[in-house]
Symmetry: C2
Subunit: 190 residues, 2 copies
Amino acid sequence: MSGSGVRPGRRRSEESRQAILGAAFDLLGEVGYARLTVEGIAARAGTGKQTVYRWWPGKADVLLEAVTAYAREHIPLPETADRAADLRTFLTATFAAATPRTSDALRALMAEAQIDPAFGERFRETLLRPRREALGAVVDRAREAGLLAPHLTTDTAVDLAFGALWYRLLATGRPLDDELAELLTRTLLR
Amino acid sequence: MSGSGVRPGRRRSEESRQAILGAAFDLLGEVGYARLTVEGIAARAGTGKQTVYRWWPGKADVLLEAVTAYAREHIPLPETADRAADLRTFLTATFAAATPRTSDALRALMAEAQIDPAFGERFRETLLRPRREALGAVVDRAREAGLLAPHLTTDTAVDLAFGALWYRLLATGRPLDDELAELLTRTLLR
């Protein structure tokens, strides 16, 4: 066996996956979710439609992987001695990850999750649950330090923070900014 | 002119509208939003499809009127001397109005609003804005009484309350109950 690590076929495959994820993001911004198609994504990525279907059941699942990967890469889990600062930092990074293109994808995915229950399950498992667990870990450490507002549980604090995020994304379009991160931190902690 | 008030033609017309709104709710619960059609709604209501289209551009707008009318009828605006109790009462009534059938409709409407921007505008104007104004009035009176948490504005308090409601509806399915109303009241007030 060679010591070079990744085999060429595997590397090409990974490049192809990345091209498809990027193409899905780009096309969504250009044509909107209603007119996004697997054919269009494949053409933009320079692959065949069957290549897309080999890995994902449809356009929503391509976007789901693209957004999930983006969140994992761009939202670190802070763990310093200052638990309140950790919460503010995590929320600030979460809101900053809602760029115009990830926001478009998030809105489309939440919509698809309402209309297609099977996709809704994958959406909850792949994106929402890991995000809740990440924020939950930060809130838990604040709670253990005696900082959480006494009438809140970790789960409810997570509902309030992600509720504000999604409501602004889906309903009002009000900004996901540092001010909201600060205000949520003050609301959730005592 | 007769003194009897409503003309028969007008009364029949109103009965027909009400039958269509009720049929839309019923069918949504039975077949789900993806398989709901204007044809199906008309058949269930005992009218023609053209009667539906005379009043609404499509199935989403029928559901929007049904939900908006339900909210208007079932969520009174409390105004007592106890501003904190008023907020709790309003939130409790709002959550109680999220019955299984209105919840199904709300999820479908929020989804449609993401996918069809023109419908999204009507959804915001017809349902979200009046609901924000109603809760905003209750929060404003609490603020004027010096009860609002000092780091919150009325708009932000409304975001947190409706954010929690929509996030549980769309994402987690956790209950919209008296406990959440109580907890939000304690979170938003000082």
